[in-house]
Amino acid sequence: MEYLIGIQGPDFVLVAADNVAASSIIQMKQDQDKMFKLSDKILLLCVGEAGDTVQFAEYIQKNIQLYKMRNEHSLQQRYGNDLFPTPYHVNLLLAGFDETDGPGLYFMDYLSALAKAPFAAHGYGAYLTLSILDRYYRPDLTRDEAVELLKKCIEELNKRLIINLPSFSVRLIDKDGIHDLEKLVPVGAK
């Protein structure tokens, strides 16, 4: 039901997440933010079982802050990924910009499978949109092209996904940090 997507460009990472917080068949909240800021240039997008998502993400977030305070420098992006198989049923996308390595997007699922990928998605929506990403993605996308690609994916969800996802939060990470972009609100079924 929930959807996460990330697209990496040559010097940025674009991420988006839907905004619905649901409980069985009811949408309890339509403006839920599923992105957690781990540091100035790292975002954790987290979906999965109720409760586990927020508890897990906040746990990681606070521990990374603690590390930063204790060690006076931030955890590099790839170390934020070392995790053991845990009973937390959460699926993640970790997106960030590293000084030395540049932009990075990591896909992680609840079994702790970890993969660095140029683009990734979680949720039922991933089945519909990964092929679009396969077809149109290029490693040298500009920011505008990446946003257009994202819009294509969301239009597809709007058209074919049985669950209505009314809006998506979008953020971009580059060397200057995390930028909030306009929320994407797909309009009308085609």
Partner: protein, 274 residues
């Protein structure tokens, strides 16, 4: 075991008790992230196997989920409306259950799911809120109170607690409304309805709230009407509608109306219009 631990701990320390999830922090982590390792209770990372889930003894206990509770924010505060029926299967055990728990003079909690679970945990929350007040010399915010409750029940996730509650209050940021449940959900919002009759209630309140600038009177009528409509359709909700209004000075008990009386009243109004 769990109860004794909870009552002993002043601030709930969720690195130790109850769940294997706490096995997260391992010795290895100590060097990399500086996370303190779990104390004597260093539970293994073994993922709970499937046999532990789903078929535990908790599943055989029947819970009284039949209820309709709702709360919504409007410009003059928060309206909280609940029914008062308790059912055990198809038997109506009581028509006069108090489903609103008065945590303190400016915080209310609603009850849906297991009655014992709700009232116990909310009483414990009341105690924690009081301790907070004494330590910090100021009232606890609704966000903090709901987070305390959510963290407390999260430790028992999967162990059979059944609780769907709304924490409603007024703090220095204005009216506050949070939904917290035993699954671990904690969501802030302007409108929630919980229970078997919640969907019927959503229908009424969503359409009623489209009109902006409700007066207190109109908001109370809306809450009352929504519960009534839910009791009309849902067999597991009924009894009386208990209505509370939370405003800057705290909460006020507005009314208690029998659902059958409301039915007569609305029918009469309809007949008058026709």
């Amino acid at each position: 075991m769990a109860l004794a631990n909870v009552l002993q701990s002043e601030s709930v320390d969720f690195s130790n008790y109850g769940r294997q999830r706490r096995g997260f922090a391992s010795g290895l982590y100590e060097t990399e992230l500086g996370v303190e390792s779990v104390g004597g209770d260093n539970l293994s990372f073994a993922v709970r196997t499937a046999c532990a889930d789903g078929d535990g003894p908790e599943r055989k206990i029947e819970f009284l989920h039949g209820t309709t509770t709702l709360a919504f924010k409007f410009q003059h505060g928060v309206i909280v409306a609940v029914d008062s029926r308790a059912t055990a299967g198809s038997y109506i055990a009581s028509q006069t259950v108090k489903k609103v728990i008065e945590i303190n003079p400016y915080l209310l909690g609603t009850m849906a799911g297991g009655a014992a679970d709700c009232s116990f945990w909310e009483r414990l929350l009341a105690r924690q809120c009081r301790v907070y007040e004494l330590r910090n010399k100021e009232r606890i915010s609704v966000a903090a109170a709901s987070k305390l409750l959510a963290n407390m029940v999260y430790q028992y996730k999967g162990m059979g607690l059944s609780m769907g509650t709304m924490v409603c209050g007024w703090d220095k940021t204005g009216p506050g409304l949070y939904y917290v449940d035993s699954e671990g959900n904690r969501v802030c919002g302007d409108l929630f309805a919980v229970g078997s009759g919640s969907m019927y209630a959503y229908g009424i309140v969503d359409s009623g709230l489209k009109q902006q600038n409700l007066t207190v009177e109109e908001a109370c009528d809306l809450g009352r009407r929504a519960i009534y409509q839910a009791t009309y359709r849902d067999a597991y909700s009924g009894g009386q509608v208990n209505l509370y209004h939370v405003h800057s000075q705290g909460w006020t008990r507005v009314s208690q109306s029998d659902v059958l009386m409301l039915h007569q009243q609305y029918q009469a109004e309809k007949a008058e219009k026709a």
